[in-house]
């Protein structure tokens, strides 16, 4: 088992976890559980495939399980209803971005971060989250629009016109 390879990915796993989980303690708990799971399942990793994408897939499963255990898995609708409660301060301030991310439904936050922060290709995101690319795109679209609305302090979310 070559755990050294896994260790190399820790800084980027921590970056993603920090953005995903919000607080740094929870984020490192998430990374630790992910590492333990990855080490235990290391024999399942296909040599030659992208280990980073594989670890993101594991982190996704661990994160969803943690949220379920804490009964914090927010439903899409529930989060949407909370949009108006977000306190508005100066738009586009970085400290607000962290709070705005926390207001996004988990499934949109994951896609937004894997694409925007981790710069995974849409196909890699699709593989890591085990969802079709079309679903990746619709979550990305909704997540970006909602984030824009949250950062602008506007309560109503207007959807983009889909161009044909």
């Amino acid at each position: 088992m070559d755990s050294a390879e896994i260790v190399e990915h820790i800084p980027r796993l921590r970056r993603y976890a920090r953005a995903l989980a919000g607080d740094s303690h929870r984020a490192d708990d998430l990374v630790q559980d992910t590492l333990e799971r990855a080490l235990a399942k290391f024999h399942l990793w296909r040599r030659g495939s992208d280990m980073r994408a594989w670890m993101f897939a594991i982190m996704h499963n661990v994160f969803i399980n943690q949220l379920k255990a804490r009964r914090e898995l927010a439903l899409d609708e529930a989060t949407e209803a909370k949009l108006e409660e977000v306190p508005r301060s100066d738009p586009l301030a970085l400290r607000d971005l962290d709070a705005a991310l926390g207001q996004l439904p988990v499934e949109q936050r994951e896609v937004l971060l894997l694409v925007g922060l981790e710069q995974l290709s849409y196909a890699e995101v699709s593989a890591a989250l085990r969802i079709p690319v079309g679903t990746v795109m619709s979550r990305l679209s909704r997540g970006r629009e909602r984030l824009r609305a949250l950062m602008a302090g506007t309560a109503t979310v207007t959807s983009l016109k889909v161009m044909k």
Binding site: P11, R15, L39, L94, L97, Q119, R148, K161
Partner: protein, 97 residues
């Protein structure tokens, strides 16, 4: 361009288009200010995310993460084999004695 989709715009903002498609989107954006604005906002979001979270990459990794280990298998095969050999040896010794 008639067949531009929102997916193309996202892929354009994320730098995931091939050269041919990118040039096509460029041409489209020249006369579509709403699409241009969307792309600008999305890129700004990406940059803001990296600006906010990239510093995590330079933090020292907590020791507890470096010490993360796979949960031990209850009885690895070699340990089981060694145990059985020891048992056999011990029994043999007792019988002999």
């Amino acid at each position: 361009m008639s067949n531009l989709t929102e997916t193309d715009l996202h892929a354009y903002a994320d730098g995931q288009l091939d050269d041919v498609r990118r040039v096509q989107v460029d041409a489209h954006l020249a006369h579509d200010s709403a699409a241009t604005e969307s792309v600008r906002v999305w890129r700004e979001q990406n940059e803001a995310l990296r600006a906010l979270y990239n510093p995590v990459l330079n933090e020292p990794v907590p020791q507890r993460l470096l010490a993360a280990r796979a949960p031990r298998r209850r009885w690895p095969n070699y340990a089981l084999a060694a145990g059985l050999m020891g048992l056999a040896f011990g029994l043999g010794w007792m019988v002999h004695a």
